[in-house]
């Protein structure tokens, strides 16, 4: 069977009424292949005719390209940190705090406005801000160091300030983690001062849903930026070094969030949080 010439089908779709002769018409009536091709041409005509150059603003391509380059800058710690500081100062989109802005995360203002806790100053220890930790935003390097600390069995209540001497480790601040609407579970997050970089110890007592993993995040109270600290082990307890930029203070990254993540390869926050709490600044 000889199909109708493609050019003629295109002409027919374009409304060129002399494109098809009687034999072509007859063939078309009985040939699904040719009708399918004609339908595709018609779709292009319909879409094309209904579409004009529109009122879309000129894309700020230079700015977007600079942001892309900044986000993909080589992992030289000094460069990236400098870049990060600049961007934070410009309140640019979250380039190093990877993924989506924290404003995408379901809000829980009750938790965010939790009672203030007092921060205990580090005694005679100074934190080492010049560590060689990987810079934030490259989360593969932020997998957690599983804590042995759970063995201590600490209980820290809301509003309480507790100093525990585990050799050189002090709890500088803590917050209870409470379940978000529709979730169950509770826990504790503690900011630890160590002879090296500060760490965050997170302990969650609550179910880990099947076929999901949990991830610990530090979200800025400006609602714009967040860091992924790493995966929460199934045991529900993990200790995470803080991003180097936060070694001398949380700088607004006070909200501790534990999210439930599907194994979908998407590094962004799933927007499905199990528990959350807020550390004092």
């Amino acid at each position: 069977m000889v199909h109708v010439n493609s050019a003629l089908l295109a002409g027919h779709a374009l409304g060129q009424d002399d494109a098809l002769d009687a034999a072509d018409q007859q063939h078309l009536a009985s040939c699904s292949h040719c009708r399918a091709e004609l339908d595709q041409y018609r779709r292009v005509v319909t879409l094309g005719q209904g579409t004009q150059a529109s009122e879309t603003p000129t894309p700020p391509l230079d700015r977007i390209w600079r942001s892309i380059q900044a986000e993909l800058a080589p992992p030289s710690a000094t460069e990236e940190i400098a870049a990060t500081k600049t961007m934070m100062a410009d309140s640019a989109p979250p380039v190093t705090a990877n993924d989506r802005p924290a404003s995408d995360v379901p809000r829980n203002d009750e938790t965010a406005n939790d009672k203030p806790l007092s921060v205990v100053a580090a005694s005679d220890e100074t934190t080492d801000a010049g560590g060689e930790k990987p810079i934030p935003g490259r989360r593969r390097k932020w997998w957690p160091i599983v804590a042995a600390a759970a063995a201590l069995g600490l209980v820290v209540g809301a509003g309480a300030t507790v100093i525990i001497n585990r050799n050189d480790v002090q709890v500088a601040a803590s917050t209870p983690l409470t379940a978000l609407p529709g979730q169950t579970g509770h826990g504790t997050a503690e900011l630890l001062r160590t002879p090296n970089d500060p760490e965050l110890r997170v302990s969650v007592d609550g179910p880990q849903p099947a076929d999901r993993y949990r991830e610990v995040w530090l979200i800025n109270s400006d609602g714009q930026r967040m860091y992924s600290l790493g995966v929460l082990p199934e045991s529900g307890t993990g200790t995470y070094p803080l991003p180097t930029l936060l070694a001398n203070g949380l700088d607004g990254f006070t909200i501790v969030d534990v999210s439930i993540e599907p194994y979908d390869g998407n590094p962004a926050h799933s927007r499905n949080s199990q528990v959350r709490g807020s550390l004092p600044e």
Binding site: A7, Y41, T56, P59, L61, I68, E71, R271
Partner: protein, 191 residues
């Protein structure tokens, strides 16, 4: 790794894709030049927000570059892949908005919620077509634009362009066939 600073401006999409997945960063730049504007425009029209369109565009190219080793030409063209990523990113944001809207509606008992006016896939196809129509070379591009957007008949076009009617018609057919192939190449991505 290819030699750096190859001039990719005249490279085919397919060669560009190969350089891209090899990790040649000048291919990332050329890809951005070719499709950055299109992706921004799609995101802008879908989300009606220039800042979100900027974010999406940035995420698409950063994500594509970071995931370049997972690109397989057998599954579709490079622009098809980029548009696929864009579609997911835009859909994520639309879902988030729908959820916010639901919360607002639940809180205020408002029954009227604005519904998306056209499916994202249709919007993408439309905007890809605009771009392709604008890129068609003279005279076939001129002819098709006059026919599609100015509503002129073929004989009017023939008169204005001082071309035989048959020539005008066959240019229009060739243009349409080219658009159909191009739309298929650019938008099909098998995920």
């Amino acid at each position: 790794m290819r030699a750096r600073r190859v001039d990719w401006r005249n490279a085919s999409d397919s060669d560009l894709a190969a350089g891209f997945s090899d990790g040649d960063d000048s291919c990332l730049e050329e890809s951005f030049k070719r499709w950055g504007s299109l992706i921004y425009t799609i995101a802008y029209r879908a989300l009606d927000s220039s800042s979100e369109a900027e974010d999406v565009t940035q995420q698409v190219f950063v994500g594509a570059w970071q995931g370049r080793t997972s690109y397989q030409e057998s599954k579709g063209s490079l622009p098809g892949w980029l548009l696929g990523i864009a579609r997911h990113r835009i859909a994520d944001r639309q879902r988030a908005r729908a959820r916010d809207l639901k919360v607002v509606r639940a809180a205020t008992s408002q029954a009227n919620v604005k519904v998306e006016s056209q499916p994202l896939v249709t919007l993408i196809d439309r905007l890809v077509l605009v771009e392709e129509i604008q890129r068609l070379p003279h005279p076939r591009g001129t002819i098709l634009r006059m026919a599609f957007w100015e509503g002129q008949s073929y004989s009017q076009i023939a008169e204005r362009l001082q071309l035989p009617l048959g020539t005008v018609k066959s240019h229009a057919r060739r243009a349409l066939r080219q658009l159909r192939v191009r739309l298929e190449e650019v938008t099909s991505w098998s995920t």
